[in-house]
Amino acid sequence: MRTWLVRLVLVGALGSMAFWAWSFLFPTPEHVIRKELAELARAASIGPNEAPLTKLAKTQKLMSFFTDDAEVTIEVPGHLTQTLSRHDDLQQAAMGARSLLNNLKVELLDVVITVGADKQSALADLTATATLPGEKIPEVQELHMSFKKADHSWLISRVETVKTLR
C-alpha cells in the first residue's frame, strides 16, 4: 500500500511539474491576458507621494495596455458618465487622476475571459476595486473589456462599466 501511495504522489508531482513547464513555455491567451491585467492593476495603482517622473512613466505604462483607438465608457449612475475615445484623452484623464490622487490601490478580481473563435479577440468580465487612503470600503465596479491580439500581447480596445443592479 505504501509503495502504491509513494508512486501515486510521485506521478502527481511529476504531472504537476510537466503541466507547469508546459504552461510556462506555451502560455494560453487566457494566461497572457490575466498576466497583463495584473500588470494593468499595478500600473493603475498610485503609490504614496509618487515623483512626477514616476507618474509620467506609470501613465505611459498604463497607456501601453490600450490600442490607439481604444474606447472607455464609464457610466456610474449619480456619479459619472463619460466616454473617452482618443488615446490622448485617455492619457490626459489618467494623468489628471494621478495628479489628483495621492494614493490609490487598484485590484482586478474575478476575471472571466472568453477568447474568440478566431483567437485574435477576447472578452473579459471583471470586478475592479479601488481603495483610497483612509477609506475602509473600496469602490467596486464591474467592467467588461474587449481585447485585440497584437503580436505576442493582447491590447484593450474597449472598456465599459456593467450595471450589476439595474
Binding site: 449619480g78 478580481l109 474575478d110 470586478t127 475602509k136 470600503i137 443592479l165 439595474r166
Partner: protein, 179 residues
C-alpha cells in the same frame, strides 16, 4: 537494582510515546493521512460551493448586519425553491470575491415604488419590520422583469443616491445569508 529501574523507566517512556503517537496520528499513519486529505477536500468543497464565509463591510444593511460581522452564504438555499421576499441574499459582481449583501423586497413581475420612505409593491405598502430608521425616499413605480428581484439594504437613513439598490438578475443571486 539501578539497571531494573532504568529498564522500567524506558518501558514507561516507550508506552507513553506509543500512546501519544496513537492519539496524534492513529494506529495506521497512512489511513490517518487519507482521512486528513478527505476532510480537507470536504471542507474546501463545502467552503467553496455550499457555505461561503463572508465579512460584511459598509453600512447599507444596518442595523440587521453590522460592519465587519462574519457571516455565511448558503449557496444551496435556492436549489428547490426560488428566492423569497424578505430574504437577505448575496449578489455577485463578475465573481464571488466581492458581493453585495441586500434584502429582496420585490419579486419577478411586480411593480415597486418608494413613497414617503415606504416600499410599495403593486401599489400596496410593504410591512418591513427590519427597517428601524426613518426614511424619505421617493421613487416612481418600476416594473421588475420576469427573471429579476428588487433588492435594497435595510439602512434607509442613507441618501437615496448613495444607497446601492435595484433589480438583480436571478443568475447573480449566489445564495441566502444564513445568520
Amino acid at each position: 537494582m539501578d539497571a531494573v529501574k532504568t529498564i522500567a523507566t524506558e518501558n514507561t517512556e516507550v508506552r507513553q510515546a506509543g500512546w501519544t503517537r496513537r492519539v496524534l496520528i492513529g494506529r495506521d499513519p497512512v489511513r490517518t493521512l487519507i482521512r486528513i486529505v478527505i476532510w480537507i477536500v470536504l471542507i474546501v468543497l463545502i467552503r467553496s460551493y455550499v457555505l461561503l464565509p463572508i465579512r460584511v463591510e459598509g453600512v447599507s444593511m444596518l442595523p440587521t448586519y453590522k460592519e465587519n460581522g462574519i457571516n455565511f452564504v448558503n449557496c444551496l438555499a435556492y436549489v428547490f425553491h426560488p428566492p423569497q421576499r424578505g430574504d437577505v441574499v448575496a449578489i455577485r459582481y463578475s465573481g464571488i470575491s466581492v458581493m453585495l449583501c441586500k434584502r429582496i423586497v420585490g419579486l419577478p413581475g411586480e411593480t415597486i415604488a418608494f413613497r414617503d420612505g415606504h416600499v410599495e409593491i403593486n401599489g400596496r405598502p410593504l410591512d418591513e419590520s427590519y427597517v428601524k430608521r426613518p426614511c424619505n425616499w421617493e421613487q416612481a413605480p418600476e416594473l421588475i422583469g420576469p427573471d429579476e428581484y428588487y433588492v435594497v439594504g435595510d439602512n434607509r437613513s442613507m441618501d437615496f443616491d448613495q444607497h446601492t439598490k435595484g433589480r438583480a438578475e436571478r443568475i447573480r443571486i449566489v445564495g441566502k445569508v444564513v445568520l
